[in-house]
Subunit: 344 residues, 2 copies
C-alpha cells in the first residue's frame, strides 16, 4: 500500500502557482487544493487551459480541489502538510498572506512554502507561526496567466528549495521538510526542482535581477532586451544598482562573485524582449513588490553601512509609482481638485 | 507718424508661443509671422480659439501671417527683427532649431529670443549666428494647447527676458535689445514681462523646478500636488535633487538661497494637481527635454566636482524613457523579436 498523498494548499494560482500544482499532481504523491480569486469563475467553468514546455497542452485541467476562500479545517478534517504561497508580496498593503492563511495552518505540522521573491519575506510567518517550518522557493520559471485560467509556460520550471533558518526549530528537521518537498515536486520527472540549502545565497542572487532590472525596467518601460540596446543604460544604471545589491549581500556574509552581474544581465537573449514582472505589473496597473524586492535589501545594506545611492533613488521613485496605483485603486483618498488644502 | 512695427517670426505656436504672439500683436508695435506645424490646418481654417486669463475669450484669432514653413526672405523683403523660438528643446534629436531658422536670420540684425527651458541652450545659436544677439526668455505661464489651435491660458504670462552674454558683442547693445523686446511684449499692458539681466540666475532658478519636479513627476506619474501628498517623496527625492541643482548652480557662481527649494515646492496649491510639462509629454508619447533640463545641469555640476547622485539616476532613467519613445516613433530600429543577436 502506498503512503497517503501529501495534502497541499496552494495560495495564488497564476503563472507560477498553477504550474506548481500541475507538477505536484502529476507526480501523484500530492493532492492540491487551490485557492483562486480573480480566476475562480473562469476555472470553475472551464478548468485551466495550459500551454507548457514541460507538460504540453492541457485543456480544462483542474487540481484535486478548487475553492475561492481559505479553508478552515475542522479537527477531524485532514491537516495541510504544506501550504504554498505564490502570491505577490505586497507588504505595504494589508491584509498579509500570513494572516489570511492562519485558519489553515496546523501549529507544529504544516510546512509553509514561499515561492516568492524578495528579502525577509519569512519574518511575518516566523512571527505568526513560531513552530512551523517555512521554506524558501526561488523560481526562475517563465510562466504567465495571459487571461483568467489561461497559462503560458515557456521555460523550464527551475525551482530552488531550502528552509528559512528558524532558530527555534531543528535544522535537520527543516532540511528534511525541504527535501521531502523537492521529492513531491520532482516526482513527475518534468521539472528542475533542486535543494539549495543556502537560502541567503539563492535569494540575494535572485535580487541581483529583481531589485535592479525589475526596478529600472518598470520605471523606463524598457524590457530585458531593450535595456541592453538603449545606449549606456546598462553601464550607468543596471550595473551600478547590481553592484550595490552585491555589496549589501556581502555585508550580511553572502558572497556573490563579481561575475554575477554580467551573468544576470546576459541571462536572456536580447531579442526575447522579456518584460520583467514589475514592468508587467505597472502596465497592468497592479501594485508592485517594491518593499520586498527593493526596500528590504536597501534597508539591510544601509544598516550595514553600504552606500546605495542608485537603489535609493529607484526605491523612492517606485514608492511614488505605488502610491499613485493605490490612489487609482481607491486605497488612498486625496483632497478634491481645487479644494483649499492647508500648506503641508 | 509712428515707427514701423517690429517684424517678428515665431517658431512654435502652442500654449506659450500663441500667447506670445497675442501679446505682441495686441501691443500694436509688432507684426508676427507664426510658423505652424501640427496645428497649421486647424488654424488656417478656424484661427486660434483662445481662453486667456489676460485676454479673455477669442474665437478665430490669427496673427498677421501664418505659414507652415520657415520663410526664406529675398534681399528686398523686410528683415526679421526678432525670431522667437518656443519649441521644445530636444537636442538629442535632429534637426536643431538653430539650423532650421538659418534662412530667416539676417546676420548682425535679427535678435533671436529663446523662450525655452534648460541650460546652455544658446550654444548652437552662438555657433550658427556669431554676430546676432540671443535673448533668454524664462516663462512661468500656465498655457496649453488642448487641441490643435485651441489654447487654454490659466495664469499670468510671467516672462523674464535678458541677453545671453556673447563676448563678441557689446553688452549695452545686448541689453538694449532685451529692453526693446520687453517694451514690445508689454505694450498691450496685459502681461508681466520684465527685464532680468542676470540670465544665469533666472535659468538656474527655473531648473530647480524643471530638473527636479519635471523628472520625478515624469518617472512616477505624480503631479505637483500628489508628489507632496505621497509619503516622503519630497523629503527623499525632490529636496535632495533640488539641493544638487542648487549646488551645481553655486559651482558656476549662481547663488540660489537655501529657501528656494521650499519656495518652488510650495509654488502651486496642492489641489491644483498640476502635471509638469515633462509628465504631460510622457503621457502624450512626446519626446522630452531630457538633455537641456537634466543632462546639461548634471554635466555642469559634475565638471565642477559637485556630487549629484540623485540627478544622475533620474537623468539615466529619463534617457531610457526617451530611447523607448524614439523606438516607438520609428527613430530607432531594433533587432526583430526572436532574431539571433550576437551578445552585446
Amino acid at each position: 500500500m502506498s503512503p497517503p498523498k501529501a495534502n497541499i494548499l496552494l495560495i495564488g494560482s497564476g503563472g507560477v502557482g498553477t504550474i506548481a500544482a500541475l507538477n505536484l499532481e502529476a507526480g501523484n504523491l500530492a493532492r492540491v487544493t487551490a485557492v483562486l480569486r480573480s480566476n475562480y469563475h473562469a476555472v470553475t467553468s472551464n478548468g485551466f487551459n495550459i500551454t507548457s514546455c514541460d507538460h504540453g497542452i492541457l485543456k480544462g485541467w483542474k487540481p484535486s480541489t478548487i475553492t475561492n476562500r481559505i479553508p478552515d479545517p475542522t479537527p477531524d478534517s485532514p491537516k495541510y502538510d504544506y501550504i504554498i504561497c505564490t502570491t505577490k508580496v505586497i507588504t505595504d498593503c494589508p491584509p498579509s498572506t500570513a494572516n489570511l492563511i492562519k485558519p489553515a495552518v496546523t501549529p507544529g505540522h504544516t510546512v509553509i512554502v514561499l515561492i516568492q521573491n524578495g528579502l525577509n519575506i519569512e519574518t511575518p510567518y516566523f512571527a505568526a507561526f513560531p513552530d512551523n517550518i517555512v521554506l524558501s522557493g526561488i523560481s526562475m520559471i517563465d510562466s504567465h496567466e495571459v487571461a483568467p485560467g489561461v497559462i503560458e509556460h515557456g521555460s523550464a520550471d527551475d525551482l530552488v528549495i531550502g528552509a528559512f533558518r528558524n532558530p527555534n526549530l531543528d535544522i535537520a528537521v527543516e532540511a528534511a521538510a525541504a527535501e521531502r518537498f523537492v521529492g513531491l515536486y520532482s516526482a513527475a520527472g518534468k521539472t528542475k526542482c533542486v535543494l539549495g540549502l543556502d537560502v541567503g545565497y539563492s535569494r540575494w542572487r535572485k535580487l541581483i535581477f529583481n531589485a535592479c532590472l525589475n526596478s529600472i525596467c518598470a520605471l523606463t518601460g524598457l524590457d530585458t532586451g531593450r535595456i541592453r540596446l538603449a545606449g549606456d543604460a546598462v553601464e550607468m544604471l543596471v550595473r551600478p544598482a547590481m553592484e550595490e545589491i552585491r555589496a549589501a549581500a556581502g555585508s550580511v556574509g553572502v558572497d556573490l562573485p563579481g561575475s554575477v552581474c554580467e551573468e544576470v544581465i546576459g541571462a536572456y537573449p536580447v531579442a526575447l524582449y522579456l518584460p520583467p514582472s514589475m514592468l508587467e505589473d505597472v502596465w497592468k496597473g497592479n501594485l508592485i513588490e517594491v518593499e520586498s524586492i527593493v526596500g528590504e535589501p536597501l534597508r539591510v545594506g544601509r544598516a550595514n553601512g553600504v552606500a546605495m545611492p542608485t537603489l535609493s533613488v529607484l526605491y523612492n521613485l517606485l514608492k511614488g509609482v505605488q502610491w499613485r496605483t493605490k490612489e487609482k485603486r481607491g486605497l488612498i483618498e486625496i483632497p478634491a481638485p481645487g479644494s483649499d488644502v492647508a500648506d503641508l
